[in-house]
Symmetry: D2
């Protein structure tokens, strides 16, 4: 079975493994206060042109999201998210478990627009009994989104401006940020992102590390005493250096971006084949997640050899699946898949 | 200014006031463990034909909802509600503040149907990664709904059956229960309700009391140690007898229902006039809340004399308002309103 | 049975009842936005010489405490309290249910001292792994304390200075504030209190009202968007004017203080008798709560006629009870009690 | 600098590293549903003679504690812990952040006794207003304790019996369980532990793994839908196999216990030297944490070469430090330390 179902099937890139082995018996301070974490943070901040920013390393994405969001909200505030947002769908109510409502808005290709934020905030403030409703306090987006689409400079700027006008934090979940930044139609850069949000993450788990998410906080108000919250919510790794070492290696020689570029190339190779074959791909993704509609019989035959992620039923005889590549995807597996799909048609 | 904006503008019915005055200097045990509370509970249970049920008296509706729902859910569970449900819209995220997601479904006239519940639960269970999503644990409905519509025996039974099949609690917010039970097309009774849910409330605040909600728990599993939670969430009134005395009086000679019938009669008098006049009333309410669409100029003129509750903008020149009667509504005020509306047309 | 067990056995003072009756059928805006609340707030602020302060009216004490404390703390902060503090003992973990630890310090006569606060904060900050421990964010005291003792200008100033130095909020639970302010050895005044804390309450429930606690917020940072939190935690009374009317009447002609003085006088009459009789009274209370140690046989005989509040077992044949007077205590009942106690000795 | 300050300074045992390298590029299902996790769970259950038990793998200890405790408590319940318990002191209020009070009892050598539990529960139930207080719902202990002491069959049985009598869950935090089980005076076994609690953990982080805690749930009531809570609280590792692989290797050939035995041997070597030298060691620990009282000048000189964990100030010229060995401690470092301490004396 060849897995195209997600981007966290393998361990880590060999360079990361090598560094973990080399440093294994060193004795270092715990809880992320070691030199590896410090150096990795500096490398990230340099790439972001953000000398005064904070970087924290956490293990997983849900943990990261709930920690950042809880840090930024007052008890009576909620976080705005696209309805397809990970925090709204696939984190078992982790945000609500911290006491905050997720205010879901209809996403447009998985994305939010500035005017949607303005409307929500305006409606909230103008309502005579606004204190009977959750106060918006933050906007959560993911880039790339959960369906592989990306923000551009214009759309991110538009959203950030709206957040600034309305007094909301903007937080970008970058669990797959590298795949977004290496997309062929991307015009975002790390410094641009850093200037257009209050916090964002660079995900490691899905992009070459064994695990790990780097949280970059650009707004000091959001970062005050942040380590307390990491610890309280269970996100502080005892041997924190494991995160520092991994991110250091990912940042070195831009390994992170190189791996992302590979995954995207593999994804686009699959995409162009499917488009050629006339297989419907309703979502305009240019990153490592591709969404294709197959007939039941096609899927049935492919399922013997390949694992995809089931997405949704489309009609009586068709379903949409997610085909996901990663830093670890082998081109020979992609070629085999393409060949088998061609045979189906 | 005559207020038709809501049903809690006045104090309490004179019989209640009288009893509060008569009992004022008695010394009783606190926290709802007095004889008045005991007797009121017995009267309610008798009317519900529910000798083994529990009755608890709380002060307000949001408090009541958050306490009952927190009592019934496991930490990873959420409560299903119509999108128009009070807990989803107008309680400032009170449910989320207890750690639970409100799973909003599209209401149909403010109501939920059994099949909607079955679909949600089925989809949840069939999803391969269901533990990544909030587990439905309870269904919340209100009767009458927030838009004045009511459930009938058939629709409540359908919903309760679905809840039973799926292992979910059914909780009915009866903040305006009396108005529902006295609606001309109602076929529900207290015993029927008691047999078709796990907990429900009889609201006092909007129906003749100074304040107070009676929680009737029919499922002992939901009621275990319930008083701890009332206390913890701030809902245990020191002079609890104030609630017992009021509900005792409301239950006596069916005052509660008599007051509700009056409010409904006043509402239907307004409704039939508006219907006669061709004023759009898009919501088929037979209870004390009526929803009418006026032109801006009509509303402008009426606003000098009457207070309504603004509901929503309908088009460039029309808005919908809620006209609300109550146990305290004076027929002369209704007649004045009708006369003025007729003059507008 | 004559109740000396607590100070909330009766309803409300007759003047309050009279005003509730008089205003009963008036129509007012809900949720505390009516003129009665506004006027009551102004009267309180005037007495506090605090023109810019905020006043909010809530129904009960636990509700009030959890709302104020949740408003003031970051998610990783806790509230310092004497070990005998109400929030630490008798609120069913209401503070913890909002996510915050109560950091209990050994009380000295139920009170805290500035140096205790400084030590805790110093120890916290100096600890190399302070982010592994709860950060102190607020100090909670009650005046009078849960055992009837009071703070004086010097001790309150000392505590507030420590809080200011350490960057902590100081919140004073004044559920029995009137009894404290009318104690014979009291030197606090409302303006002094208002200048030496960030928020405090004037309790109504135990001091002549049917129910109600007035929260006075002197530090705007603590009061921002406070009404959202009141609503979310279930503390916003629909017919909020009931609270305004009661506090207006309590403030008028200083009824509040007159009632408190009466209760204290009754308490001191009992105290001086017990002291005369050599009955141990280990706690130096000058307010309406008195603590006396009786033999089992004495208690056994008194228990047929009087209800006290059991406090603790002292030794094999003695127990301490709380004898509580209130605004409603009748002197004839006090005299009867004194006579019966004398007979026992 | 040689670190004796804690037991998580290094990475992982070489056998674990080797397995992580070998399996690195395998594709497996995520979130702990892979074969490695399944096999590791089976190995653990077999050692525990607990065929029907559940095993879950989490990354860190605070995360594990908050998840297990939140799973077992009703909203109004608290968890009993020794005052020195990790959850009471060093987890930044993680338990309170889930809404539950930690009910701290005075530990005796860091341990609790059955009678302490019985007394607390009895006092709670007998109190007339018990619903005004937090209801005990679980007992938390650690073995070895935070100060290196251990439970024996008799003391654990005594405690579990008390919990059973009182209807409380017993949860054992075994972050250093191996060190406890290999202590020279230990008589506990995994099957005995499994039969005398409702859940316990086998810690990996401090005992040879890169990270990881295995939660063994012996009481199915506590384990129902446990994976939902792991996910919600951020504890579900995407590449869950990393945990399975590590625990599989630790269990194989009893590596886990072999490593623990080594650490204990190193600790006892240090201990016997210090005892010989008459250096006070107030805590009778037989595991890898040893507590010694040095003079300031002794500490000053040792500090140039060795890192200890500062524990507390003893008097004007002495402090107690923790000397901690681990699976990774080299005997040559121990010998150097011993030599240097001898020189000091």
């Amino acid at each position: 079975m060849i897995f195209f179902n997600c981007d966290y099937n393998e361990g880590a890139h060999e360079r990361i493994i090598k560094r973990l082995v080399e440093t294994n018996l060193e004795q270092t301070t715990g809880y992320g206060e070691d030199d590896y974490c410090r150096q990795a943070a500096e490398m990230i901040l340099e790439k972001c042109e953000l000398p005064e920013g904070q970087v924290h390393f956490l293990v997983g994405g849900t943990q990261t999201n709930l920690t950042v969001i809880a840090a930024g909200l007052k008890p009576w505030q909620g976080v705005i998210s696209a309805d397809t947002g990970h925090i709204n769908c696939h984190e078992t109510g982790a945000i609500e478990a911290t006491g905050h409502k997720v205010l879901a808005l209809p996403g447009r290709n998985g994305k939010l627009k500035g005017d949607q934020i303005r409307e929500v905030v305006k409606a909230h403030r103008e309502d005579g009994s606004h204190e009977h409703m959750v106060q918006p306090g933050m906007v959560y987006i993911s880039n790339p989104t959960e369906i592989g689409t990306i923000y551009h400079q214009k759309s991110l700027e538009d959203l950030y401006n709206a957040c600034q006008e309305c007094g909301l934090y903007l937080y970008i979940d970058g669990a797959r940020m590298g795949y977004g930044l290496m997309a062929r139609d991307n015009d975002l850069t790390l410094p641009f992102i850093a200037r257009h949000c209050d916090a964002f993450t660079l995900g490691g788990t899905k992009q070459g590390a064994l695990f790990g998410e780097a949280v970059i906080i650009t707004n000091p108000a959001l970062g005050k005493d942040f380590r307390y919250l990491i610890k309280q919510r269970g996100g502080m790794l005892a041997k924190g250096r494991l995160l520092g070492i991994q991110f250091q290696e990912l940042m070195k020689d831009d390994l992170y971006f190189e791996l992302s570029a590979h995954a995207n190339a593999m994804a686009m190779k699959i995409r162009s084949t499917l488009v050629d074959l006339g297989i419907p791909m309703p979502i305009g993704s240019t990153t490592n997640q591709q969404f294709a509609v197959f007939t039941d019989s096609e899927l049935g035959r492919l399922a013997g050899k390949y694992s995809f992620s089931y997405w949704e039923r489309v009609d009586a005889s068709h379903s949409m699946v997610r085909i996901c590549t990663s830093w670890a995807t082998r081109e020979e597996d992609v070629d085999a898949l393409i060949k088998d799909i061609r045979r189906e048609k």
